[in-house]
C-alpha cells in the first residue's frame, strides 16, 4: 500500500442479505485529507463507515487501512441510548477504551484528558450532568469530546450536523478544521451541499455505486447531483445477480 494513503478500497461491496449497499467501490483516501461522503438516504454512506470500522464485513472486494492509522468513529447520534443513566464524563470516557480496555484504571492524566476534551467542545461544567438532560446539540458536542479523547489519525464522522443549530455546527466545524490542520484524515457523512462546498475539499458522491469522487467542486456538479438524487433506495427483491460478480465466478 502506498504510504500516502490512509485507506484504499479494492472493488469493495458491502450490504445486507445479498443486496449491496455500497457497490464495487474502488479508490483511495489520502492521509491528511478531509473528505465528505454525500448521497441520498440508503445510498450506502453509513454502511461504508461501518464497513471501515469492521462492524459490517465485505460481501466482496476488500479495503486496506494503512498500518500506522488509528481509528475514531462517531456513529449517528440516534444510536446513543440517551435514557441510559450515564453522565457526560462517563460517555466521553468510552473514548479511552483503546488505552484502558475493560479493566484498566483511569489515571490522573486520563481524567485531565477527559476534562480538557469536554472543555474543548464547550461543555465545561456539564461533566456530571446526566446525558438524558442534554439537548441534541449538547449531546453531539459530548460525542465530539469522545472523538478528541480517542486521539486517532483517521476520524470517521456519521452525520454529525443533522438536526443541530447553526452555532453548534460552526463550533464543530472549527474542531474538524483544527483536526485537519493537525494532519489527521477525516471522512464525514453530510447532507448540506453548501456547507460541504465551503468546508470539505474532497467529496465522494455515493448512490450505492460511486457517482463521482475527487475535488468537491468537480464532484458536486448539477449533473452528478441529479444522477445521485434519482437513485432508487428500494431493494428489488428479484434483482438479477451482479454481472461483475458472475464474470468473476463469485455467483453460480
Amino acid at each position: 500500500m502506498n504510504e500516502q494513503n490512509a485507506l484504499t478500497f479494492n472493488n469493495l461491496t458491502l450490504g445486507y442479505q445479498s443486496h449491496p449497499a455500497v457497490h464495487h467501490l474502488s479508490g483511495k483516501i489520502k492521509k491528511g485529507s478531509l473528505t465528505a461522503i454525500v448521497g441520498a438516504n440508503g445510498s450506502g454512506k453509513s454502511t461504508l463507515l461501518r464497513g471501515i470500522m469492521g462492524i459490517n464485513k465485505p460481501m466482496s472486494g476488500s479495503f486496506e487501512i494503512d498500518s500506522d492509522q488509528t481509528l475514531a468513529y462517531l456513529p449517528q447520534r440516534a444510536q446513543v441510548d440517551q435514557s441510559f443513566p450515564a453522565s457526560v464524563l462517563e460517555l466521553v470516557a468510552l473514548g479511552l477504551w483503546s488505552k484502558r480496555g475493560l479493566l484498566g484504571r483511569f489515571t490522573k492524566e486520563d481524567m485531565q484528558t477527559l476534562y480538557q476534551a469536554i472543555q474543548a467542545v464547550g461543555l465545561e461544567g456539564f461533566e456530571k450532568r446526566n446525558i438524558s438532560t442534554l439537548s441534541g446539540g449538547q449531546l453531539q458536542r459530548a460525542l465530539f469530546a469522545r472523538v478528541i479523547v480517542q486521539d486517532a489519525n483517521l476520524i470517521l464522522l456519521d452525520e454529525p450536523f443533522s438536526a443541530i443549530d447553526t452555532k453548534t455546527v460552526s463550533d464543530l466545524l472549527s474542531l474538524i478544521a483544527n483536526w485537519h490542520k493537525q494532519g489527521r484524515t477525516i471522512i464525514i457523512v453530510a447532507h448540506d451541499i453548501q456547507l460541504i462546498k465551503a468546508h470539505f475539499p474532497e467529496t465522494l458522491l455515493l448512490a450505492r455505486d460511486a457517482i463521482a469522487w475527487g475535488k468537491t467542486k468537480e464532484v458536486l456538479t448539477p449533473k452528478n447531483l441529479s444522477l445521485a438524487q434519482n437513485f432508487d433506495e428500494n431493494w428489488d427483491e428479484n434483482a438479477p445477480w451482479c454481472e461483475t460478480d458472475i464474470q468473476k465466478g463469485q455467483v453460480s
Binding site: 456513529p75 446513543v80 450515564a86 460517555l91 468510552l94 477504551w97 475493560l102 479493566l103 438524558s132
Partner: protein, 291 residues
Amino acid sequence: MNEIYSFFIAPFAEVPFMQRALLSAVLLSFSAAPVGVFLMLRRMSLTGDAMSHAILPGAAVGFFLFGLQIIPMTIGGLIAGILVALAAGAVSRLTTQKEDASLAAFYLISIALGVLIISMRGADDELLHILFGSVEDLTNDTLILIIIVATLTITSLAVLWRGLVAECLDPLFFRSISSLSPLVHFIFLTLVVLNLVGGFPALGSLLSVGLMILPATAARFWVTSIFKMSVLAVSFAALSSIVGLLASYHSTAPAGPAVILSLGGVYIVSLFFGKSGILQNRSTGHHHRAG
C-alpha cells in the same frame, strides 16, 4: 421486646430452613438485582421473563430422570436456558426476525414442552412445586448452588462492568472499539440464566425473575446513576426477601409469592413517591425554575 424477638428474629435464629432461606435470599439479592438493573436498562425486562420460562424443559428433564432433586433440575435448567438464549440470538443474526420474536417463539415451545414432560411423571402438586418453588425444601446443596451463582455473578459484573455500560449506552460505538461486544452479550445472558436457575428452587420458574426485575424497576424511580441504582436494587431485594419470608412464616402464604409481593409493594410505593415517580412529577407540574 420478647414479642419483637419472637416475630422478627426467632424464625431466622431458631428454624434451620428459615436460616437457609434467609441466606439464599440475601445472596441472590446481591447477585440477581444488579443483573436486573442491566436487563431493565437494555430494555430486556421481558426477555428475563421469557428466559425464566425457557429453563422449564431442562428442569423438567432433570425431574423426569431423577425426581424432585435440585442438582439435576438445576443443571437441566441451565442447559435449556443457555440453549434458548443462543438459539434466539442466532435466529436474530441469521434472519430478519428480531431477538424478542424468536425468544417468544422458543419460550412458548419451552413452557409447553416443560409442562408436558413434568405431567408425564409427576402429579399436579409437583408441577406447582416446580412452577412456584418452595423455601421449606431448600437444602444445603441448594445453598451451595446459590453461593456459586452469586460469586460467579458478582465477579463477572465487576470484570465486565465497563463493557456492559458501553454495550447499553452506545452499542455501535462499542462494536467499533472492541471485539468483546458479542462475548459481553453472551456472558450477560448466561448470568441472567444462572440467576434464574439460582432463584428457581425457592421461587419457582415463574417467579424467580421477580427478584431480578422488580428491585431494578423500583430503584429507577429514586436514583439516576447506574451504580447507585444497583446498590438500591440490592437493598430493596434483600429487605423485601426478609419481609416476605417473615410474612410467609407467620401465615400460611407460600414464601415465593410473599417475597415477590413485598417487592411489588416497594415498586408501587416507588412508582408514586420516588424522586421521578408520579406524585413528584405532578407536584412540580405547575411550577418551573427560572433557568
